[in-house]
Amino acid sequence: MNTHTHFLPNLSRRDMLKGVSSGFGYLALAGMCAEAAPANPLAPKTTHFAPRAKRVIFLCMRGGPSHLDTFDYKPKLQADAGQEIKQGNQYQGTGGKLLRSPWEFAQHGQNGLWISELLPNLAKHADKLCLMNGMHTDLPSHPHSFVKMHTGNSQFVRPSLGAWTLYGLGTESENLPGFIVLNPSSGNGGAQNYGSAFLPAIYQATPISGSSGQISNIANRRMSRERQRMQLDLIQGLNQGRLKQKQVDPNLESVIDSFELAFKMQTEVPRLMNVYKESSSVRRAYGIGSRSTDSFGKQCLLARRMAEAGVRFIELNYGNWDQHRGLKAGLERNCRATDKPIAALLADLEKRDMLKDTLVMWGGEFGRTPHGESDDGRDHNNRGYTMWMAGGGVKGGMRYGQTDEYGFAAVDGRMHIHDWHATVLHLLSLNHKKLTFNYSGRDFRLTDVHGEVATKILA
């Protein structure tokens, strides 16, 4: 059995069995019945130090949103637009003409953060945002960078940030998975981005497709609830008979529990996933019902409901931000679709006093080049881009790090993916160097042998 070097509560087998019978149905047994079953791997765990963020909502913007047109104001880029520049790295072209941003930037909030006019609603929450303008990653290719953003590694299959989070913290929701991804990507590594790799499989994400999707197999199309209960009673009767005969069988107890939990989930999960349970004013605030904002608005509202219900790590997905062409139309469409819902989410979390311990994060796998790929497009840029975080112990109204005068390479407060991961884990009260798992003879961690916590952004 793989050893957990992370802190786990010390339970006797008797305690564990008691816990299982009282309904905490998730139980991953790494091995067969004969082994000493470990304590419930999803039970909430004590952390390395005092908690700030208790849960994460990751707003994943697929395709590499242009930081130069959203959160990274470069007046020199505007001034020198049209000039030829040699730029790029060994993986891409050698540059082109500097392309000015078609949009105006203005200062927002108490600290005058520069945010583009594409995001008027989000700009109102400038005092909550920590803009990380000095992000950088290793490669300007979607599959590599998307996977690296999620797992810390682009060459090998590694557990995702969400899986490490669950491993480190457990979950607070009995009826729901601890790690949920809405509208997951099927490309760019697909399931690998949300997987558990060598961590116990129980820590992988539960995917929900689209904004109106459901957890797989949540509904029975054949039987009424009463008839299904009759069937389940027969199943459990058979299981109980076997348990009596075997006398001791922790596996069997957890099978019995898991079926009861599944039965409960059949009504609870659709209820949770039903945004129409919210008042019309709340739905309107998120943009639900309006064509452009309906889809992502639903995702954001679902995220808030899931966060309330105790889900530990929620990832939303919106794309495509890969504007090699059609920058103007594409960015306008993307921002229109997401600006209002995200702002509503922040406001809603704040209103429910949840923002202080919910870490909200926004970003894509890389940014875009200051030089144009045409006169209406930008190429990939891994050397410098922007992500932002809010809530969960992060300083608001802050700008951390910066890129060069044209917004190409991060020059200051540089934050690599590993640094971001280290910081996220730190905000979740986990020491990225101590959150390890022993696999194949050695200890592994999300940040490998890298990563520095950006202490300056901690509130």
């Binding site: 299959v157 116990p200 008839r227 069937q231 027969l234 957890s254 989930m265």
Partner: protein, 298 residues
């Protein structure tokens, strides 16, 4: 060991792996064979035979088997035969309180540990009891037919499955089909000496609600109805198919009660009532397929 700069070293690596004075390869292999047959290795750790990997429960036995393995020409079949002919392999899983108190984890193999079937066996067994299993090899391969394209553009054809054995299902990284993935199929991108065995509600939801399972249950119901005339004989046949034993008296009673309750109030000729009368047997068959005994081997 040395080799010239112009060669790759692979031959030398191969020689070292099977060198007579290298105990590692044969011990690891024998441990894995033992694990596959008995549900747990002599050394629980499949991958780490170093000093941090723990101790084997029966070190002399491990060495003995390793030596016999190499002496027998590294024959996997030969080693399998030896192990399954042993007394240890043939032990039952019956509980014994004295033994249990002395060795609750069955480290010293006083009985056969109950184990859950792996994902492929669960699916194959469902197809088998329902009579749906196609035993011949399928023609062609969905993966090779998909050609050289992005996986997502072909996901429909790659997900489509026939009723052939699970060993013939297309295996595409990051797109493992649900019945395999849910029951802990090994992640194709990872080295996996030992699969997880999870028990989660997602499995229960699948067994209770998925259309593959209901199709299997329907076919199984048709089979028992066709092969036996009386309700009780049909029930007994169903237990025999799924559990390889007849029902106990209380199980038979529970089943009869269930069937009666299920069709209670369906005497009218409404479509709904007809529907429930028609699939009562299937609902019962599905219950057997959902129960633990079907997928846990004693």
């Amino acid at each position: 060991m040395s080799f010239s700069r112009s060669s790759s070293g692979r031959l030398q690596l191969a020689d070292w792996l099977v060198a007579p004075d290298n105990p590692l390869t044969s011990r690891v292999m024998v441990n894995r064979i033992w694990h596959h047959l008995l549900g747990q290795g002599l050394l629980k750790n499949m991958d780490n035979f170093g000093s941090t990997g723990g101790d084997p429960s029966h070190p002399e036995l491990l060495d003995h088997l390793a030596l016999r393995f190499t002496k027998n020409g590294w024959s996997v079949k030969g080693m399998v035969r030896e192990i399954v002919l042993s007394r240890t392999y043939q032990l039952a899983s019956d509980y014994d309180s004295a033994n249990y108190n002395a060795d609750p984890d069955n480290r010293y193999l006083w009985r056969r540990s109950t184990r859950r079937l792996d994902a492929e066996s669960i699916r194959d067994s469902m197809l088998s009891v329902s009579g749906l299993l196609k035993r011949e090899r399928p023609r062609g391969s969905a993966v090779s037919n998909a050609g050289d394209r992005r996986v997502s553009s072909r996901s429909q054809t790659l997900r489509a499955t026939t009723d052939h054995r699970s060993v013939f299902l297309p295996i595409v990284r990051d797109m493992i089909s649900e019945p395999l993935r849910l029951f802990d199929y090994a992640e194709p991108s990872m080295v996996t000496g030992k699969r997880d065995v999870t028990t989660v509600p997602a499995q229960a939801l699948y067994l209770m609600n998925d259309s593959f399972v209901t199709r299997v249950a329907d076919a199984m119901a048709r089979r028992v109805i066709a092969e036996q005339a009386s309700p009780d004989e049909r029930i007994k046949l169903a237990y025999q198919l799924v559990y390889a034993r007849p029902p106990k008296a209380d199980e038979l009673e529970k089943t009869q009660l269930f069937l009666n309750k299920y069709i209670a109030g369906t005497d009218d000729n409404s479509q709904r009532s007809q529907y429930y009368r028609d699939n009562a047997m299937s609902a019962f068959c599905q219950a057997l397929l959902c129960s633990a005994e079907f997928r846990y081997l004693d």
